[in-house]
Symmetry: D2
Subunit: 343 residues, 4 copies
Amino acid sequence: MQQFASDNQAGICPEALEYLLKSNDSGHESSYGDDAWTQRVCDRMRDLFQTDCDVFFVFNGTAANSLALASLCQSYHSVICHELAHIETDECGGPEFFSNGSKLLTAKGENGKLTPDAIEALVTKRADIHYPRPKVVSITQSTEVGTVYTVEEVRAIAAIAKRRQLRVHMDGARFANAVASLNVHPSEITWRAGVDVLCFGGTKNGLPVGEVVVFFDKVLAEDFAYRVKQAGQLASKMRFISAPWLGLLDNDVWLRNARHANAMAKLLHQRLRDIPGVRVLFEPESNAVFAELPNHAAQAMRAGGWKFYQFIGAGGCRLMCAWDTQPETVERFAAELRSICIA
Amino acid sequence: MQQFASDNQAGICPEALEYLLKSNDSGHESSYGDDAWTQRVCDRMRDLFQTDCDVFFVFNGTAANSLALASLCQSYHSVICHELAHIETDECGGPEFFSNGSKLLTAKGENGKLTPDAIEALVTKRADIHYPRPKVVSITQSTEVGTVYTVEEVRAIAAIAKRRQLRVHMDGARFANAVASLNVHPSEITWRAGVDVLCFGGTKNGLPVGEVVVFFDKVLAEDFAYRVKQAGQLASKMRFISAPWLGLLDNDVWLRNARHANAMAKLLHQRLRDIPGVRVLFEPESNAVFAELPNHAAQAMRAGGWKFYQFIGAGGCRLMCAWDTQPETVERFAAELRSICIA
Amino acid sequence: MQQFASDNQAGICPEALEYLLKSNDSGHESSYGDDAWTQRVCDRMRDLFQTDCDVFFVFNGTAANSLALASLCQSYHSVICHELAHIETDECGGPEFFSNGSKLLTAKGENGKLTPDAIEALVTKRADIHYPRPKVVSITQSTEVGTVYTVEEVRAIAAIAKRRQLRVHMDGARFANAVASLNVHPSEITWRAGVDVLCFGGTKNGLPVGEVVVFFDKVLAEDFAYRVKQAGQLASKMRFISAPWLGLLDNDVWLRNARHANAMAKLLHQRLRDIPGVRVLFEPESNAVFAELPNHAAQAMRAGGWKFYQFIGAGGCRLMCAWDTQPETVERFAAELRSICIA
Amino acid sequence: MQQFASDNQAGICPEALEYLLKSNDSGHESSYGDDAWTQRVCDRMRDLFQTDCDVFFVFNGTAANSLALASLCQSYHSVICHELAHIETDECGGPEFFSNGSKLLTAKGENGKLTPDAIEALVTKRADIHYPRPKVVSITQSTEVGTVYTVEEVRAIAAIAKRRQLRVHMDGARFANAVASLNVHPSEITWRAGVDVLCFGGTKNGLPVGEVVVFFDKVLAEDFAYRVKQAGQLASKMRFISAPWLGLLDNDVWLRNARHANAMAKLLHQRLRDIPGVRVLFEPESNAVFAELPNHAAQAMRAGGWKFYQFIGAGGCRLMCAWDTQPETVERFAAELRSICIA
């Protein structure tokens, strides 16, 4: 049954699966990425972003973010991020582990977004060697609360980062949803806006497993392949990690998947916003709806078999739509909730 | 085309693939291992090993070994292993990275195997705090040169380890091939012989991706789930990593795959041993044949499209058979080589 | 000139210096702590604390705290501390570095002190593997804002720690000042109250260099000597680090030094509290006075050659007294400030 | 009593002690290196080396070497050194710990010295990402077996390093003894020969505690101060670490101390070489004599109160002379040994 617990509870989308199967038909293939499938995906990524970037495959988002950040700073440096950033709240200290101790400096910010002022405040707060020097700013696109940085917002952050000699990392576990939401070319909110490294999420977009780390500044990617290998993130049968990306990239399925999930969130939002007692917390800009439900209603829905998380950070219930969420599921969820709330 | 470069160049075996597809049919599933497929594999592992062990899924062998070792020692401890061990020669410092600095102490040993005497010599060499204290002995089963520790050999190593208060880790990237070769119950060369932690390889046995870490001493597994998460080794869509194991476990396909690969190595060995100029280096006990080929022959074979590695450590060419290696491929390879050598 | 910038700007107290010189007279001595001076200090520490504890010497407070914490948790665990704790604000990520990534979870708390409730809130906030599990609570005695935990407060924290299976670490960079302030036996606020490990500061009490890590639970000290060595904290000419402690321990000079510094802070407080425009922020319980000075007054004092820090965390100016602070210096400082403020 | 166990068993030389006492007379001093004494030593180091280098103070040799190496490579890189190098054999995995996993690749080499050929062999052995990429070559001057690299030898190593894009690190725990032995300007065997970073040992030359890390390439020193702080190597009362260096630098006391120790080793060698049954293993070029003593003789000498180490690596007994070793002690040692051997 489709649910609203997380977009990582959805399965593999048909197009990705097709390539996974196809890549298995080719018999023996060179391992560790030295195969034609992987090469093809890398080239397609460069086409997609319209620039000569370096592309690496890793197994999941924690690894993608942690390795990318570790490559941008040393252990005595720090990373500026929003207090709700996934790297801060849900990776069990992964960034600190991979970087051997880099500290995350967190800032508050409305709608789950960092602001240039908040970054400036953190950079200028201390200038002594007793506190780790900020070296990276990390933004999540789309954010943990379902909002999206506009092109201008990314640019403004990158500008202050440049002025303060910070590298810009984008946690794009739901990058597709942001691009779909903004309806811009993916380069517009990445390298053209000043992003140095993008962690481009595949799993939540329909892959079985795997994310991509894209270095727009190739100098920063030096020896990153060694880092990936040492960190246990280099797949031997790489084709099964890489080939499914072709399913997402062909015919812009990644965008179609994202647009669909976003649309389902919009629909859900429309159905929820006028249910008595329900308060939507953020205007949904991507594939998540955050809403406060009356306690008894949340309980009743869960008792009825619905799954969703209640988050302390942002507050409220998180209702996450996936590439496969069906309108009927949304309607049924809304209808059941409405009937409970007006009872 | 099938090759002899590595068993990780083979594809997904049909039974594993079937479960991967099945697990995708179930729509949304709880993530991070909190799903029925994963639970089922864990239970099946406990059945297989006939003991109440703790089972964890990780993405690859470097991660399996490194995380297991890191859980058995601290940064100022050391790990005793054979000088040809994969953890020493082919994981780019992964064990040192995950353990934050544990040193590997290597020993020579015939046929790629550690001996109790070699372990004893390393343990007793130093007893001062200027050298990292040995805390773990790691053996590879089957070894990097295609040999297999007998039950007695594992027991003898575990005995000296116990006496010296060392934990015993088994790198079982090709564990199946060893079990098939020895024709013993898997418990006989693991916990019944004194092994504390086994890294049980799935990828080389026919999975697309993924290995299993089995803790026979459950106390050692405390908080290991956190370690896996922090290290970027926890799959969100876990079912796609776990469910395919059912394909291997049902009807002992894992053993069938291993027996087949071993048999192909034996066949290859038979065909090679009397080719003039070819010298087989080790009696093949699992799925690898190491042989010295005349230089011009190796070159000619490669020019003819054959792929295989030449290793400095063990010397010679490594010809690795996989679950899908066909007798015809073996015969063709041998025939071509013979014709080159006798020309 | 004596100053109020920090107690680590003071020199070596005569009694410590005498032992440093004495220990140099003995010609060659065994290195790395295998000498009679070091042995003697360890025994004296056991006498002082009236228990059979394990004692280690390290070079400074960052190392003492970081190594102690690293020995109490793994990289995927977390340490609960006050948001103004030195380990959080002034060790440049040292604890994260030595522990290979353990996260510090900070709590607010009046007068720079952690409370049982704040600890409980952090422990119970999350129970999933996506967030590092709390394993240690660290308290600073005396605190960064010059306050002191009472015996009852330490006991209450240790009780909640015990209940939640957390180890208790005490950052005692100014432990002497706390003991002097409370006028209790040092065991009363350490092991008798439930503290597992104490970092006992020597430098601010009159030593040239060096702190001591005291493990009251000797099991926790297993292989800590290796940890110290690997981390570059084992002095070869150890006697010069250890022997000066005898100068502090003989005749309770450590307490005399601390009492004096505390008394000077009290005097300073008395002189400052009724100066117009000056607001003392905390009732001084040890050797620091925090006070808000009128901006022009702070500037004028600095222009006049006085040195003191202005802290963002606690706010206000920190005026720190040392073992050698003279009453005349206090009086002169107060008089100059008064004349500026009433001008 | 003076001994031959280690030059780190000697005390503080008078000139260093004098400055330690002087620096204590100045009352309060800025901490963490922001004092005049420290500034003065840094300037004097630049004078000494005749170049604008960056100078950092750390507490001991393990820290100096480990931090320097960590600044020259990442965790997935490797460091080439001699198999008898202190960083390999006596720092308990310190380099691996501080670098978060960099592997040491060791080479054999006569007289404890690395050769260009050995370096070349290690660099060219592997070129795949499964093995950590060599990034640094580390040489010990003088070596662990008391030999000294000539200017030409250092240059030749630096040349191959440059060609292979390796940084050159010099472990100079006994740098003074090497300079004294070669009778060259210290710049001749460091930056003028191609060394990037020197760990300049003070402790064995007569200091109570402390080594200096000298970056001849200032770009490599970027943010090294943060690294030192985070790693617990920044002294708060820095003057007591730095000022004693002035005692060594004034009137070239460091060279006088080294020359004396070297001369004592030469004397010892002369006295030992013709004692029946004694075999000197290396021509002493600095302050150590390695000699094989008859077993009963070694035992008898130890029973008579003499202290010296027996090393597995190089073999034989190590007799180490210090800045304070007296000719009479050498003569007495030799006479006693002779009488035992000819008995």
